[in-house]
């Protein structure tokens, strides 16, 4: 491994506080490090710098040197090197740290600059905060409180612009609220690589719109809503549903693919309202795909399993588990387990314990699609690497459950435990499925659950805590956002009780207790405890699995091992 080059540190002075930062760091980020807030609208750490909002104006100076001798010029009053201050304010976003750079943000001139920009931004703004979805998380609100004058001198008519333009299937635009920061335009061009947004007209009449005949329809369009500093771009899905200050934020992980974008799930009183990305500079920066934001809808979907069933009749969990154990014990040596790449690391570990107790072979359902080169990878299972790490499987799953199908046809398998997987969708025929007794532990109704001998409803990713291992072999934590529905039981509890019921060695059904066992038994997880896992995740050692032909192509912050090896 090549050590990354040491960043070239330079010392800068922000409002009298000195700090060493990597050369080239911009003033906004440098000031943040010493706790000085430099307000901004158009700047975004993951987009190009355009400097159009003028909110981040700062005073800048450099140590004075004699032009002839290059010797420092000292200030006799302070005994320190004199600072040559530039009279004209500079924008912080485009000012990069250089040795000796001095910044002032707390001067009367800068206060006046900020008040001026705030006033200008508000003169043509509709001030419709009471009905605006952005209220509560609006930079205009926050910064007018912090840096505005608090009163208006504007008595003229305000501009009139389009109020509810559908830019695409998921994004609604209110042009009157737009402050023309161009973040959304830059995002589409630079990150989504779908250059569809632009301004028409000029001056204060400038209006954001799509190019003629185009729509903001790419799978990353909702990121424009996230980065819109005001209420101009709103999510058509979330619009007018809930005030944001009522919502509880819970850290989670996007389960739509092995990219594993970090997310925040926003809920109130057990109901999820939206999912937004959570910044992780090593995984998803500040972005996530639109498709991952809709996954919460499965929580309250109509086909959610509501109660345990035995032979199609509603039963208790105890009865279901008892019957399941009977069925599995009645077919010694003829049980197969279909695990899931959607299960958490912890569930996969307990699934392995179940397989060991039953001496059962394990297959995994593969979900390979097209990667988009960004944050939806080719492997649509979020946690196939978790199954490898926990030893649930030793090789990557094949495209279909062919071995299981053959075993059923040959009569070698009489009973199957399916952890949330629809075996028909995974390649079994209805006739094959009819030959075996199925124990189904899952969340939603499907062709497998309808015909199963025992159905045990479990929890979605939003209703439990656990970890996934993404394509980078990064162990990432997701937390319980909302309680599960009545009738559903935590997967870990169900699986661990099933292990005990079939006579296996007891496994804790509680997450933190289980982690003690995980750390002890699974190579690579030894130093980890669930509670101490960093919010940004923990990179595991991928070398034991280096030879496996993983499906993912290059994505944001991910290179396939072959590509990495080729460049090394």
């Amino acid at each position: 491994m090549i050590a990354p080059p040491k960043p070239d540190l330079v010392t800068v002075n922000v409002d009298g506080k000195e700090i060493a930062v990597p050369k080239g760091t911009n003033v906004i980020e440098a000031a943040r490090l010493v706790g000085v807030d430099v307000p901004y609208y158009c700047y975004h750490p993951k987009l190009s710098v355009v400097g159009n909002c003028r909110m981040c104006l700062i005073e800048m100076g450099m140590p004075a040197v004699d032009p002839a001798t290059k010797a420092p010029i000292m200030d006799p009053a302070t005994g320190k090197q004199k600072i040559n201050w530039i009279p004209r304010p500079q924008i912080g976003c485009a000012t990069n740290a250089a040795p000796g750079l001095h910044i002032r943000t707390n001067t009367p001139q800068i206060k006046d600059c900020r008040e001026g920009v705030m006033e200008f931004l508000l003169v043509n703004h509709p001030l419709d905060c009471p009905i605006c979805d952005q209220a509560g998380e609006c930079k205009l609100q926050e910064q007018s409180t912090a840096y505005g004058r608090g009163y208006s001198r504007y008595i003229e008519q305000k501009n009139v612009k389009p109020k509810r333009t559908q830019l695409g299937p998921r994004v609604t635009l209110d042009d009157e609220r737009c402050i023309l920061c161009s973040r959304c335009i830059r995002f589409c061009k630079e990150v989504a690589r779908d250059d569809v947004l632009g301004f028409v007209d000029r001056g204060s009449y400038s209006t954001l719109t799509c190019y003629p005949g185009k729509a903001l329809a790419n799978n990353y369009s909702l990121n424009t809503v996230d980065i819109c500093p005001v209420g101009a771009l709103t999510s058509t899905d979330f619009r007018f549903k809930m005030r944001v200050w009522f919502l509880k934020q819970t850290d989670s992980i996007d389960t739509e693919s092995s990219a594993g974008a970090h997310t925040i799930v926003w809920s109130r009183e057990g109901v999820i309202y939206r999912i937004t990305p959570r910044r992780n500079d090593g995984v998803n920066d500040t972005w996530m795909a639109d498709s991952g934001r809709e996954l919460y809808k499965a929580v309250r979907a109509g086909d959610r399993l509501a109660a345990p069933r035995v032979d199609g009749a509603v039963a208790t969990v105890d009865a279901g588990l008892r019957t399941a154990a009977d069925v599995l014990k009645a077919a010694p040596g003829a049980v197969a387990i279909v695990g899931s790449g959607r299960s958490s690391v912890e569930e996969q570990f307990v699934t392995r314990k179940l397989a060991e107790a039953l001496q059962a072979p394990v297959s995994l359902v593969s979900r390979i699609g097209q990667g988009d080169g960004l944050l939806v990878s080719a492997d649509r299972n979020p946690n196939v690497r978790g199954a490898l790490v926990t030893g649930l499987i030793q090789a990557l799953p094949g495209p279909q459950l062919t071995a299981l199908a053959a075993a059923i046809d040959a009569g070698r398998v009489k009973a199957v435990v399916s952890v949330g997987e629809d075996l028909i969708a995974a390649g079994l025929t209805p006739a094959q499925l009819a030959k075996v007794a199925v124990v189904y532990v899952g969340t939603h109704e499907n062709a497998t659950s309808t015909g199963a001998k025992v159905v045990l409803p479990s929890l979605t990713v939003f209703e439990k805590s656990g970890t996934f291992v993404n394509q980078q072999f990064r162990l990432q934590r997701f937390l319980k956002c909302v309680p599960g529905p009545a009738g559903a039981t935590d997967d870990l509890a169900l699986l661990s009780r099933l292990v005990a019921a079939v006579g296996g060695a007891p496994v804790p059904g509680e997450l933190h207790a289980l982690w003690a066992l995980l750390a002890a038994e699974v190579a690579g997880l030894a130093p980890v405890t669930f509670a101490r896992l960093p919010d940004t995740g923990l990179l595991l050692d991928p070398t034991p699995f280096a030879g496996l032909p993983f499906a993912e192509g290059a994505g944001l912050h991910y290179q396939p091992a072959a590509a990495v090896a080729a460049t090394a």
Binding site: G51, R54, P89, A94, G116, N124, Y154, E156, L180, F199
Partner: protein, 450 residues
């Protein structure tokens, strides 16, 4: 004392009977001889002549041309572009138009000399969209010059070649701002770029080093090579060398364009003697000396300036020599040479309303202070003129302007706020009294204001 004589270098043949814009006429008058001389010189020697000439840009900012050329990144390995700023849109300015209409080959020769000096292989003339006639003349002239082996590959039997392309703007004042112009030339909205990092000399057109010069400036280059930098520097006054074209419009008897040695004529001589003084029965009230963006001068005010020897001198408006440095010392600027004269029939609130309407219409809308401030100032002055004026509106106007100047991406922020700042500062009484005077001034059948 009679006014000094015009010294026509650039405008030598403008309005000359029988002088036509075609190549044959230009060659008959000695055209392209200087280009022949130039290609026999070392490029660095030409740059040196331009540096020694002290030539300052004639587009508005008066930046030394030789210094600008000296800043060009010549080590990047990327091509260097020359862009001719022919987007002459500053209200009150009409000099480049006459060069392009009547003497286009003078410009082309100046371009080719400058291109040779800076190893430029492709030059662009960015011409204002409202000048289609000029664009056609230039295109024809370039075609003629190309046929005569004066433009294009291997000019004049050398291995050097440079082509010129005429690009027409679409009618936006901001395209005269050099980085806005570059963006427009690249096919984008003319949003001026932030500097740093996008200095044209390093990261200009297509992110390559680029020289952007005004039409008149490039014409001067021809004459500098002709007479030598040191001789050119003897024309005009120190640090304000050469001649420049002054365009006088407004309330004088004989408006027009005049070419004088820089600093050798005073504003008073220009207006009273060259332009025939005020209209009958009128008195001069105010003058904008360098295009509508320049701060206004009020007749009757005086300026006390420091001399080099430490003494001071007091100048009236009429005493101000028309050079870059003295105008700047008097709080305004030489700008683009557009002198706009207003007599005592003008109400300054209404004049400012007109100027503010222009800048609100022309703000590109990229950065906040200019975008919102220019329209706000227009709305205030428009309301004052058309609806309800308040005594405090003058102070409000100035306060808005103060929030723009110095805080924007490009110089448009100053361009749109300097008029308001100077009008209110110097004619504050008129702004305070306007609620009472408005009705009186509206009865004389004056033009409807925008």
């Amino acid at each position: 004392m009679p006014a000094p004589q015009q010294r026509r270098i650039i405008f030598q043949h403008i309005d000359e009977p029988g002088y036509t814009p075609d190549l044959a006429c230009y060659v008959r008058h000695g055209g392209y001889e200087i280009l022949k001389k130039a290609v026999a010189m070392q490029p660095a020697a030409i740059i040196d002549e331009v540096k020694r000439s002290g030539l300052r840009g004639r587009g508005g900012a008066g930046f030394p041309c030789g210094v600008k050329w000296g800043l060009v990144d010549r080590k990047s390995g990327k091509p260097i572009y020359l862009v001719v700023n022919a987007d002459e849109s500053e209200p009150g300015t009409f000099k480049d138009r006459y060069i392009m209409h009547q003497d286009p080959h003078q410009l082309i020769e100046g371009i080719m000399i400058s291109a040779w000096a800076n190893n430029v292989k492709q030059a662009y003339i960015y011409i204002r969209g409202e000048m289609p006639h000029g664009a056609r003349i230039l295109e024809k002239a370039i075609a003629e010059a190309r046929a005569a082996n004066l433009v294009g590959p291997k000019i004049l039997g050398t291995d050097y070649g440079c082509d010129i392309f005429v690009h027409r703007g679409a009618g936006a004042y901001i395209c005269g701002e050099e980085t806005g112009l570059i963006e427009s030339l690249e096919g984008k909205r003319p949003y001026p770029r932030i500097k740093p990092p996008y200095f044209p000399a390093v990261l200009g057109l297509y992110q390559c080093p680029t020289i952007v010069n005004n039409v008149e400036t490039l014409c001067h280059v021809k004459h500098i090579v002709d007479m030598g930098g040191d001789n050119y520097a003897k024309i005009g006054t120190p640090n304000n060398t050469g001649t420049r074209i002054l365009c006088v419009s407004g309330h004088v008897r004989k408006p027009g364009y005049f070419e004088y040695e820089v600093g050798k004529i005073t504003l008073g001589e220009l207006l009273h003697e060259v332009c025939g003084g005020p209209l009958p029965g009128r008195k001069f009230k105010a003058v904008i000396p360098g295009g509508s963006s320049a701060k206004i001068l009020k007749f009757g005010e005086t300026f006390t300036l420091k001399n080099k020897d430490g003494s001071s001198r007091t100048l009236s408006v009429e005493d101000i020599p028309m050079d870059f440095d003295t105008l700047a010392a008097c709080g305004t600027m030489g700008g683009s040479g557009g002198v706009i004269v207003m007599d005592d029939s003008v109400n300054m609130v209404e004049a400012l309303a007109n100027i503010n309407a222009f800048y609100a219409h022309e703000s590109c809308g990229q950065c906040t202070p200019c975008r919102e401030g220019s329209l706000w100032m227009k709305r205030i002055s428009h309301r004052m003129v058309h609806d309800r004026a308040r005594p405090e509106d003058g102070a409000l106007l100035k306060s808005v302007a103060d929030q723009i100047a110095g805080r924007t991406i490009c110089a448009f922020g100053e361009a749109c706020s300097w008029p308001t700042q100077s009008f209110v500062l110097k004619f504050g009484d008129e702004f305070k009294a306007y609620p009472e005077t408005r009705n009186a001034s509206k009865t004389d059948g004056s033009l409807e204001l925008v």
